[in-house]
């Protein structure tokens, strides 16, 4: 098959451009109008968002670079506490049960009238738990044990070391009794006055 007029005519009859849609111009124009502005806007949006993101990222980087790091400071030397004021030793783990056990032992001894055992339990508590959770309760137990042992001087000292909230009426009576036994009548009368028991004021004999 060679090229001839018939082939040329066939080509013209079958011209692919012969079936172009009549509204092609309108359709292309509509697509151009619809697409181009959005492309322009999208470019600006992408550019602005990218710049903003880069700015934030850059600011973070600069801030991190300029921010002082721990390595830029001289190491802090913590002075040793050896030979200085006593430092409260750390409480052993789950010590509350043991503290309560020792306190219970002291109170039981007091209830039995065994001041010595009570004091032994208090001493053990103070040795093992110098900053224990039940320290105030132990001070009261020691005070009562000292009274039982007849050591009014140390009992009064222990009473003076109690926080105000722990000074109950019962302890104040103990205080008054100890002061009376010691013949410190001025203090005795003052404490009795606080107890609003003026009848007791004449029972003290100065020593």
């Amino acid at each position: 098959m060679s090229w001839n007029e018939e082939t040329a005519a066939l080509l013209k009859r079958g011209d692919p451009a012969g079936e172009l849609p009549s509204d092609l111009e309108r359709r292309v124009a509509a697509r151009l109008d619809a697409r181009h502005p959005s492309r322009v806007d999208l470019r600006w949006v992408v550019a602005v968002v990218s710049l903003a993101a880069f700015g934030v990222f850059g600011a973070n980087v600069v801030r991190r670079v300029l921010a002082p790091t721990p390595e830029t400071f001289a190491p802090v030397t913590v002075p040793s506490n050896d030979g200085l004021s006593p430092r409260a030793p750390a409480k052993p783990a789950s010590s509350l049960a043991e503290e309560a056990g020792l306190l219970q032992r002291a109170m039981s001894a007091i209830d039995r009238g065994d001041g010595r055992s009570a004091l032994a339990a208090c001493d053990e508590y103070s040795r093992r738990f110098p900053a224990g959770e039940l320290k105030v309760e132990l001070q009261v137990a020691r005070l009562r044990a000292l009274v039982l042992e007849g050591d009014d001087v140390h009992a009064l000292e222990a009473l003076a070391g109690l926080p105000h909230f722990a000074k109950t009426t019962a302890l104040t009576i103990l205080q008054a009794q100890a002061l009376g036994r010691l013949g410190r009548c001025a203090e005795f009368r003052q404490v009795v006055g606080e107890l609003e028991q003026p009848a007791l004021a004449g029972t003290c004999t100065e020593k």
Binding site: K12, R13, L24
Partner: protein, 186 residues
């Protein structure tokens, strides 16, 4: 048309050149014809036309004022078609049997004029689709567009002697393709 590029268009107009608007109006039909003739049944001329003028508008301000618009737009169209045909060929390789386009021509029966015209267009399209891009361009410009050899050389940017060689080869291959389709020119 929107006025998004009015500044660049105005600048070009002030420089003594034509405006994008006038080029668009003047070449829209021509470009769509080129797209249809250089393309294939799988290439939509509307898409090519749209893409061409979109690209032209984007780069209008960069276009030299003394550019040969005929040749420039024809080559733009040809390049777009070539690119689109390559993509479509790749898609067809995945989606359709290789002779899917030819089946339309071979099975269509010319029972009336409309069907006959449709069958002829499908036959020609299938035959054109077998040509290389260069052969197809020369054949379209010379046989369908009616350009002279010199004009084809100017539009395609090739030497006149090359145009004649390409045209001879394109005619031969087109005829062979028609023969292979089992259809004879009537």
């Amino acid at each position: 048309m929107d006025a998004a590029h009015s500044d660049s268009l105005d600048a070009r107009a002030r420089a003594g050149g034509v405006t994008f608007e006038s080029v668009y109006r003047g070449y829209l039909t021509q470009v769509s014809r080129w797209a249809a003739r250089l393309g294939s049944p799988w290439v939509d001329p509307e898409d090519i036309t749209h893409d061409l003028f979109l690209k032209l508008r984007d780069h209008w301000s960069e276009l030299p004022t003394d550019v040969n618009l005929d040749a420039y737009l024809f080559r733009m169209t040809a390049n777009l078609v070539t690119s689109r045909r390559r993509v479509e060929k790749f898609r067809r390789w995945f989606r359709l049997p290789a002779d899917a386009g030819r089946q339309v021509a071979s099975t269509a029966q010319a029972v009336d004029e409309a069907l006959e015209a449709k069958a002829t267009r499908a036959l020609v399209a299938a035959a054109l689709d077998t040509l290389s891009d260069k052969d197809r361009r020369v054949l379209v410009l010379f046989e369908l567009e009616g350009h002279s050899g010199q004009e084809v050389a100017r539009l395609t940017g090739t030497r006149l002697e090359t145009v004649w060689v390409q045209l001879h080869r394109a005619r031969k291959r087109f005829s062979e393709a028609i023969s292979r389709q089992g259809r004879r020119p009537s």
